[in-house]
């Protein structure tokens, strides 16, 4: 039984074409004519599905036009709806009226692929800056990515708020702290934010295009550098998508070690984030205490796995490093000490009334809005959405160990901090379970090479949330398209909504509690 398939069948009618070349086979994929693209979205909306991603692929090497894909999610199910646009008339009907996150996905499709979403309310480019040549569509096959682009003059039209006492605060791209670049433009009255417009794309490095020039094997290295803080999860998502296409069966021990890496990454990042949120409320004590604990994790990584952030430890077919009995002992004893310290600090966080005053009821993203925006990960779980790929689409050992997903409904800064606190405790438990019954055996297998014209899909829960990869092999078996959807691709819109009505000085606090990736968004 499939809720999504049942919902879409009446729309498709008898002539439904299901794609057999989409892997893993649990992912339903179908092609619909253009005029039914919106109708399918309507059907999806009716069963409360979320839009996970929308992207386009240049399929001219296959003798087709452009493929436009929308991926929906409901519980553990994913469904991909494809429609085609001929190369001479590259356009498709917009989904923005049904699904809000399509707003940015489609601007991106238009900017980078040159396929127009007809009826989209915002014709401004996204990621593509005003000084790019109009006809530069890097994701098209005809585009030569190795050449530098000339700069042209252009103008970006900001959304303006007008009225008595309204003023504007531009921030960035070079920020005050040690963080990534992005531009924020606030319209405020007094201290209150009445509108925030984000402008991202500063760290666009052409990653999706770069994948197309790499071998399948090398791709995992690049995936590990999409967002440096989520390197294990991104490599893993890439590898799972690839392995689904080649039919590679990953040894059990490797899968368990992958889960171990994922949880270590989650703990390290959550510790850093909680400290940073407290620091932005001028409670530096917490930052220093927690960065000390974070360092413990990074040092374990360095000592046992040879890299502090664990870059390139997940490879196609398995993992590149093993762990011995001594290593297991070390992690267990270090984590025990860490958890004890951590719990003491949580009490301090919880009892500090001036901190409470800053984090509670600040930056609220209501459950309604969270659902409208299809946010994922920590942000979703702090706003009442029970979404976690580890629980809903588990790979071993998660299916055996089980994951308790903390869900809060207040949607404020405190909720996002508290979800992280609970997740750190849960991750420590998961790591214990993994290490207690780590199966023996090989740590990698031959990943193999996918057949031409097939596609692979994966969704992995990184520490920020669900990471989606979609790979497509070309007519000769190389990489035709690699679509990457970092959680930041949807969650940035959540921040714009969460800060409304808050005071400008609370913005850093709200931003830190989201802590979205710029690099993962801009790609």
């Amino acid at each position: 039984m499939s809720v999504l398939k049942d919902a879409i069948t009446p729309v498709l009618g008898a002539g439904a074409v299901y794609d057999e070349r989409q892997y893993p086979s649990s992912i339903i994929s179908c092609t619909v004519p253009k005029e039914k693209f919106v109708e399918t979205a309507k059907a999806m909306k009716k069963v409360h599905a979320l839009l996970a991603a929308e992207w386009a692929s240049d399929e001219t090497p296959f003798g087709r036009g452009f493929g436009i894909y929308a991926c929906y999610r409901w519980g553990s199910e994913y469904l991909i709806v494809k429609t085609e646009a001929p190369a001479e008339d590259p356009a498709f009907p917009t989904l923005t009226k049904k699904f809000l996150p399509a707003y940015r996905f489609e601007r991106q499709i238009k900017s980078l692929m040159g396929v127009t979403p007809a009826g989209h309310p915002d014709s401004r480019p996204w990621i593509k800056f005003e000084d790019w040549p109009e006809e530069a569509w890097p994701l098209r096959k005809s585009f030569d990515a190795s050449k530098a682009m000339p700069r042209v003059t252009g103008k970006y039209n900001w959304i303006r708020a007008e009225g008595e006492g309204v003023y504007e605060i531009p921030v960035g791209p070079v920020h005050a702290g040690i963080i990534e670049p992005g531009h924020f433009r606030f319209q405020a009255v007094g201290e209150d934010i009445i509108n925030l417009e984000e402008r991202l794309g500063y760290v666009h490095k052409g990653i999706e295009k770069k994948f197309e020039s790499l071998s399948w094997q090398e791709g995992s290295r690049l995936a590990g550098r999409v967002s440096g803080d989520t390197t294990a999860a991104h490599s893993l998502a890439y590898c799972i998508a690839l392995e689904s296409m080649t039919g590679c069966s990953v040894p059990e021990r490797a899968q368990w070690l992958r889960a171990l890496f994922l949880e270590m990454e989650r703990i390290a990042n959550h510790l850093g984030d909680i400290g940073a949120v407290c620091n932005d409320a001028a409670f530096a004590f917490m930052l220093y205490q927690l960065s000390r604990l974070r360092e413990i994790i990074l040092r374990i990584n360095h000592k046992l796995f040879g890299h502090r952030l664990m870059m390139d430890r997940v490879i196609p077919g398995g993992v590149s490093v093993d762990i011995d009995a001594q290593g297991v002992e070390m992690i267990l004893s270090e984590l025990k000490g860490l958890l004890k310290e951590f719990n003491k600090l949580v009490v301090i966080y919880d009892e500090n009334s001036s901190l409470e005053d800053r984090v509670k009821d600040t930056g609220i993203l209501t459950p309604d809005k969270a659902r409208e925006l299809c946010v994922v990960g920590i942000v979703a779980r702090a706003s009442g959405l029970n979404l976690d790929c580890r629980a809903q689409n588990p790979f071993p050992p998660y299916d055996r160990i089980g994951v308790t997903v903390p869900v809060l409904i207040s949607g404020d800064v405190h909720a996002r901090v508290w979800v992280r606190i609970e997740e750190i405790r849960e991750s420590v438990r998961i790591i214990h379970e993994i290490l207690k019954s780590l199966p023996s055996g090989a740590i990698s297998a031959d990943a193999g090479i996918p057949l031409p014209d097939t596609s692979g899909f994966s969704a992995v829960e990184g520490w920020r949330g669900e990471i989606v990869y979609w790979l497509q092999s070309g007519p000769t078996g190389g990489v035709n398209r690699c679509m990457v959807r970092d959680p930041s691709g949807v969650n940035w819109l959540g921040l714009e909504q969460a800060v409304l009505g808050n005071i400008v000085p609370d913005f850093p606090l709200c931003n830190k509690s989201f802590n979205q990736s710029y690099s993962g968004h801009d790609l």
């Binding site: 999409v226 440096g228 004590f285 220093y288």
Partner: protein
Amino acid sequence: MIRILRQIFRTGIVTEPLPLEAEAEIKEAGAKLKDAIRKRFSKSLTIRHVDAGSCNGCELEIHAINNPIYNCERFGIHFTASPRFADMLLVTGPVSRNMEIALRRTYDATPPPKLVVAVGDCGCSGGIFGESYASMGGVDKIITVDAYIHGCPPTPAALLHGILRAVGNR
């Protein structure tokens, strides 16, 4: 409050001496540095970090040199919010096309002697991203670089070492 104080006292000072292999060089650099920093930078070195297109990996390790274990402030090094106050720009890369202008402006806003240190394999040479329509390559393709710190990302010890060396070289 008592809990906070107790935790602070129980934790004590966790700052570590730098790793042995770096120690000798750093001592030497440190000795030179004291003079250099005293003369040139009034006893402290102020750094402005610029992410010109990094994946955020280098940023995490730059954060780490501020943690109590690596504690860069003991050398008189601290980070500032504005390039106007900076003696040194710590630039991570590769320089993306969309950040090129912002990087140039930041450089122009920095008063002399404006030391520039390129951080990470991408900052040094473009790394895995290389040169393309969106990536300009290493930092030295855009502005003059005084020192390079390799690594993907460089460890906090390598960062400290590199920063100290850059000042010593001048």
